[in-house]
């Protein structure tokens, strides 16, 4: 991975930004903040999409 921001990571992984939710180190990151959210070594990134649930 060469991405330095969360948005670059999403682009690199091929996600559709409209239907994913993101968090960095267990803190929510809004869609509009992804481009400015820089990634560092050891960061825990969560990328989630809609799924069946009870």
């Amino acid at each position: 991975m060469s991405a330095t921001t969360l948005q670059m990571l999403l682009d690199e992984l091929g996600y559709d930004e409209k239907t994913v939710g993101t968090a960095l180190n267990q803190e929510f990151v809004r869609a509009r903040d992804r481009a400015e959210t820089r990634l560092c070594e050891g960061d825990a990134v969560e990328i989630v999409t809609p799924r069946q649930g009870g």
Binding site: L13, G14, Y15, D16, T19, V20, G21, T22, A23, Q26, E27, F28, R30, A31, E46, I47, V48, T49, P50, R51, Q52, G53, G54
Partner: protein, 262 residues
């Protein structure tokens, strides 16, 4: 809509909320939702491999069915995880409704009520309309209302167990203590009769998943639960008679043939 239930200012004619997990196929899920007549389904958020599009396909199916969604925080084990999940769900599903689950114990999937109250307060302060999945504990219920919840969802039995009501006394006490709060029984029901029972107790609605999705015929079971919930609700409103220990003739005694006139 002559007997609506109102959840966070939204009036609904169906008193059944349906989970969307563990159905044999997407088509059976869609048909079960329609057969149930429900207006709210629960959904979740999960990780997905970048190339896969399962999430997109599922979300498209739910939008096509045209029901309101109630996202959950299933699987979260801390208030922090649940809060972040709720915030992601609000953005992805474009709703401020959240079914709040903070699980404290693996074998029973019992809520961690301390984490639940903490997360409920944070989310309610952030503008969420919180549907907390809780136990039947009265004091916890009080704390959740104090935290800003306007609906409570006590369990009947552990998630997916199909046991029906474990503690009828506790559920009756909760209903009696909070006569004006919408109470939804969430989790543990297995048969339509279980749902009828809690509706007869005066519960406002029922949330089901496994009882429908793992039935031999989920579509027929969805319909069966809808009928049971409607019957139980009507039974509650009709005010059942008081049980007696001894018989009381239902046919009038006076005028009985062969009876001796005194």
């Amino acid at each position: 809509m002559n007997d609506p239930v109102t959840l966070y200012d939204v009036a609904l004619s169906s008193r059944l909320l349906l989970g969307t997990a563990r159905y044999p196929s997407p088509a059976i899920l869609a048909e079960s939702i329609r057969a149930s007549g429900c207006e709210i389904v629960t959904v979740s958020l999960r990780r997905e491999a970048g190339g896969a599009r399962a999430g997109e396909a599922f979300w498209s199916l739910i939008r096509d069915v045209g029901v309101r969604v109630l996202p959950n925080t299933a699987g979260c084990r801390t208030a922090k995880e649940a809060i972040a999940t709720a915030q992601m769900a609000r953005e992805v599903f474009a709703t401020d409704w959240i079914k709040l689950e903070v699980i404290g114990e693996e074998d029973t999937l019992q809520p961690d009520v301390f984490g639940l109250v903490e997360a409920a307060r944070a989310l309610a302060n952030d503008g969420f309309k919180v549907f907390p999945y809780t136990t039947d504990d009265l004091v916890v219920a009080d704390k959740l209302l104090d935290a800003g919840c306007r609906v409570l969802m006590p369990w009947a039995a552990p998630i997916g167990s199909g046991r029906g009501v474990n503690d009828a006394f506790a559920l009756r006490a909760l209903r009696a203590h909070f006569p004006d709060i919408p109470l939804i029984v969430d989790a543990g029901l297995g048969a339509p009769s279980h749902a009828a029972l809690v509706m007869e107790m005066g519960y406002d609605a029922v949330l089901l998943n496994t009882a429908v999705s793992r039935a031999g015929d989920p579509v027929l079971m969805a319909r069966a639960f809808a009928l049971a919930i409607e019957a139980g609700r009507a039974g509650f409103r009709a005010q059942p008679m008081t049980p007696r220990d001894m018989a009381e003739p239902s046919t009038p005694i006076i005028g009985r043939p062969f009876d001796r006139l005194a």
